[in-house]
Amino acid sequence: MDILNELAAWFADPAQWTGPAGIPARMGEHVYYSLLGLLISAAIAVPIGLLTGHTGVGGFFSASLANFARALPTIGVLFLIVLAAGIGLVPVVAALVALAVPPILVNTHEGVRGVEPRLKDAALGMGMRGHEVLFKLELPVATPLILIGMRTAAVQVVATATIAAYVGVGGLGRYIVDGQARQDLTMMLGGSVLVVALAVVTTLLFAGLRRLLVAPGLRSEAAAAR
């Protein structure tokens, strides 16, 4: 295929791999925005999800939130925030957080709430206190689901960080935006391939995290829930 040869030539060009517009720099920016957005989202969503899941409050709220978030068009939200707050890193990260909080929150809530009641009874019967039940039982059992929520959020964030280039900050989306402006299809495709690669690596990373964080006894169940 002609286009594949051009794409290979684009990647092979050494100029592509150096300088502030080179692939490593763009990749670094992309990862930085994504990581920032994801970490802030996790810092907000996981504690709230643990609390609501543990106490059983707010189930309807989190279900509605998930439904609403799924319907909300991300580019609209991003552009609206940029229009309201101006161009820069803050609106981009804010939009990414708005995108990533619902899946993490809902999965954390459902994961903790879905813990087998008999297990909780057993833990209470052994004399565990409320917070011990949460951190020693419910959190480990819910970890597979929480990780799935984080993975969903991470892939969405990596994809959406592409749009950040439309509002003036860097990242891999720049290749797509600049390529579109210059009618350079190869450049656009190069950027897309890099985003896809990053998304696949993200998914693999979460597979590794699952192996690392999920207790051995829960692994078969975690694999089935994948």
Binding site: A84, V106, G191
Partner: protein, 279 residues
Amino acid sequence: MIAVEGGNGALGVWEWITRVTEWGVANWSYPDEPNRGIWPRLLEHMRLAYLSILIGLAVALPLGLACARWGRLYPPVLTGVNVLYAVPSIALFFLMLPYTGFSDWTAIVPLSLYTLVILLPNVVDGLRQVPDHVRQAAVAMGFGPLRRLLTVEMPVAVPVVIAGLRVASVATISMVSVASLVGLGGLGQLILSDGFRRQFDAPIVVGIVLVVLLAFVTDALLVVAQYLLTPWNRGNSGSGRARRSGRSRSRQRAVVATGTPVGAQTTAVRGPNQATAGE
């Protein structure tokens, strides 16, 4: 903040809402120019979304059927489909460009794939959770495999399939907006061209609101469709009700996965406990 441009506090918000609404009404459609205004964009959005969903469903049904029948097929297919899901839609739209150009298919092919990814596990799980005694009753009544499939197994799987369809349709309707980046995308075009490029908030807000409304209306239509298709489930808390769309996709799948014995997924053994997989 744009929200308080016209004044302060609640009054400013009210003025803003009024301004956005007035813009929406004024630009709804132009009788002289059929391709201008909000209404044509909404129609375009519906066309792209519904076509994608229908094509995804049309592929998911036979593929799910094959996976449910030949259990060995399912793990590799599921893995392939999950890898696909890791590919961001935006990137996929651009990757389609050399092959489809700036046509509807640039949006429809990736979106159909996403629908397929979400639907396939539901089709398989739906068919697998048909209770064994129901299947045996059909056999005892002399139903052949095809008749059993069409009149017994498929209808019993309807609630699970529709649960997946609801998730897929809402996600697809939202994702169509992203296709505006490659020059398609219905309401996304409103958001991008009329709103963002002209630094004007009203089209963006109208676009967002219409996308969300369209998603919720479609969701409601699917609930009605399920009600009509499953008369035996009416008026009780059947498995269809346990699968409200509010649950996340992963949660649904987790519920199905934990409700089904892991070993039974690859073998043909069907225990009676699978009947409660939807709970």
